[in-house]
Assembly symmetry: C2
């Protein structure tokens, strides 16, 4: 087998990169659990017809086929099987899980879900074909109070904020409300709200003039209507004054509607609560459209300050119908962090680093193979007290055993003897030690993730 | 969307089942890390030609195809892409990872890997199409000392033993050595060692007489040779006396070989060390064959005592060539736990239970919607001190809010007031409390996993 090369779009980390990823996942999970979200995992596959319910994602799906089915010996149960694909997000599987288990779940149901997803897109910078998402959603049976639209982005702000300590840049959550956009467009007399949103969503890519042209050419807007849409999209701010700006703009076009007022009241509540609870994090940005057509209220995008060109690393919104089984509908609100994109940037930009790539805090040296069991016993005593320990692979010269530790970033080497001694190989300090009582400094016990340069 | 039904072979757990699975995974991971294994994850896909290098697994592979490729608009880079399949174990991907990153890893390289794998097999009791494996391996560059063959099953015994506290039955690790079998068969004059092993591997399924017939019919053994093979397979024991039994048997057939002696010395070292370090856990069982042809030394299978019909939940062995890039070979030894099979049995047999399915220890009641922020502030104060807290979804009557907690197993409900009060809804005890200082008993802080019936 020749040396294999990486598959484009399928990121993998070396052990020290994985330490960083694990740290990120655990920090997120801890915040989610402190807020009462239950963890679930869903299978990686869904029936293809469910994955394709939204046409726009159809090109991204990886379809599965059993190799056996190729060989002409399919059994009847093969032929009766549904065609399966890998999930491309965690929302479609969650919706299915809620319906499937509705009778056994308590609503409102708050869940987090941290799993890989797959998209057959052409790989490019920051876009992967396999990546980890970390989602939180709360879903109600029949109804879901508005206050969750305020709380969920703040949970994400707290989760991402818990990563500041390791060098993750500040985040900014950009919020909008679908009712504001829809109410405004309808007030202007534009009926195809989806179409207008789709064009406005292109603002960052093609600029306002091109969007205005598209609004006229594709959505049948008058130049004045197009201008109004762009004026709305230009409004942003981190306090309730944005609400006044939108209302004034709408009034100037005689476009104030009940739906707009409802949306503005919700947007105001979100911005005001966020300003109190996480000052500076949430910014109302009226150009945030979110392409997906199932959002019905608040929508969210999140950028890393100073890394805006990376795009949104955490997005989501409110949907009135996550799922429906004919009898009940399940409205919800949720956000999803693109963990792989975040970790990839942290590693490639050298923002964070792991203090070592192995868990081991102590390497126990082996004097000769006949006394390996004495070294094993030292390691066992250390582990029994929660100190990760490894034993040297061979009874090589001590210099070589120290090098084994050094190459892996293991800070301490233990020499069995009478008495035992332990050496901090960074400082060279060597002291008598007893495996029943000695412990490394807390900072050395487990690998830590720290801002690069520390 | 009608209520969906589960997909056979793709297990999913309700939140309280997931608490159990998470606990198992964390306990395993902690043991692995205490022993110095670094965690890695590999992508879910491998090139199909790599997955099919071993013909016997070809029927199990799920092949991927981008839906787009079906639609006739494949781009040149699509056409140039390798055909991909989902990995069916963690050994093939690990071998590829080692080759791909050999220059950036330090050998011997100890890694654990906990991920889902997929096999397109017909689902049946205890056999899944998607399941979680937890693997440990140590791999050397060019060489790997024998002592790792003793250590790795003991790490697994410790990992599985750490689950005794939650009600997991005792485990028994059955060990054999491929060199013993091969040396014995060759000493008998049987040249097709793989073939003989394949027949002996069927002992539990079809019994000794049928195996003897197959050895004669398929492997060209004489009845006496077949009898000798079955006599070898019948030997088992937990101390070094098994070694003497095998040697005596081999001598009686004049079948003692150097390879047999090497294997017996290794088997003796393993059994003796295990008897000292984990008494009663490891049993030499000469019928353990392990179908896979890459094992070259020790082989392992693990059963849950009292649940032997579940089959092996943790298997592995020593391989001299995990991978080779032409220049170097990478020998290794490893074991793999079938976590889903284990968790599925724990849940279906009612052996373990989670104290609750949500992380929440405290539900903060809401007196009316106008004072929701006061309840939010209580929850924030509790979370800041590491107490998982949720806030009631609506300002319903307190009885309904208590029911919300009760349905989820949340032990405490907090009533903001002057002063605040907290109620243990199991005992009904209600006391004054301050969110800046109050904490639940340690046993109530997070969900715990306990033996069922406790």
């Amino acid at each position: 087998m020749a040396r294999p090369t990486p598959l484009s779009g399928f990121p993998e980390w070396l052990p020290d990169g994985r330490v960083v990823e694990q740290h990120v996942l655990e920090a997120l999970r801890r915040t989610f659990e402190l807020h009462g979200f239950a963890g679930i995992e869903t299978r990686a596959v869904e029936p293809l017809d469910q994955l394709l319910r939204k046409g726009e994602t159809s090109k991204e799906v990886y379809v599965l086929r059993r190799l056996q089915a190729d060989e002409g010996d399919a059994t009847p149960d093969d032929r009766g099987e549904k065609q399966l694909g890998l999930h491309f997000d965690l929302t479609v599987p969650f919706a299915r899980y809620v319906l499937e288990n509705a009778g056994r779940l308590a609503f409102p149901f708050k869940r987090y879900q941290i799993q890989k997803v797959w998209r057959g897109e052409r790989p490019q910078e920051g876009r992967f074909r396999e990546f980890v998402q970390a989602d939180i959603d709360v879903v109600g049976a029949g109804e879901l109070p508005y206050h969750y639209e305020v709380e969920l982005p703040l949970v994400m702000a707290e989760a991402l904020g818990s990563l500041r300590a390791i060098g993750v840049p500040e985040v900014r959550i950009l919020v909008n409300n679908r009712k504001v956009a829809e109410g405004f467009y309808r007030g202007l007399g534009l009926g195809d709200v989806e179409g207008v949103l789709r064009q406005v969503d292109k603002l960052d890519k093609i600029g306002p003039e091109a969007v205005a042209e598209l609004l006229v050419a594709e959505q049948g807007a008058t130049p004045e209507q197009a201008k109004a849409c762009l004026e709305l999209a230009a409004i942003s701010g981190s306090d309730a004054s944005v609400v006044e700006q939108v209302r004034a703009l709408a009034a100037s076009y005689d476009a104030v509607t009940d739906l707009l007022e409802t949306g503005l009241a919700e947007l105001r509540a979100l911005v005001e609560a966020a300003a109190r609870r996480a000052p500076g994090v949430v910014v109302a940005d009226l150009k945030i459209a979110r392409g997906l057509d199932y959002y019905t209220g608040s929508v969210y995008e999140t950028v890393l300050v100073g890394h805006e060109q990376l795009g949104s690393i955490c997005s989501g919104g409110r949907y009135d119908t996550l799922a429906s089984d004919g009898k009940n509908t399940y409205p919800g609100v949720g956000l999803s962090i693109g963990v792989s994109r975040l970790v990839s940037r942290l590693l490639s930009a050298g923002l964070v680093t792991a203090t070592r790539g192995v868990p081991t805090a102590v390497l126990v040296a082996v004097t000769d193979e006949e006394t390996r069991e004495a070294s094993d016993a030292v390691a066992a005593a250390l582990r029994a007290r929660g100190v990760p320990a490894d034993v040297a692979p061979t009874a090589a010269k001590f210099g070589k055993q120290i090098k084994y530790a050094d190459r892996r970033g293991i800070p301490f080497v233990w020499f069995p003897g009478e008495p035992d001694q332990v050496k901090d190989i960074r400082s060279g300090d060597q002291v008598d030690a007893d495996a029943a009582t000695w412990a490394p400094p807390a900072d050395d016990l487990w690998p830590r993730v720290v801002p690069a340069g520390e």
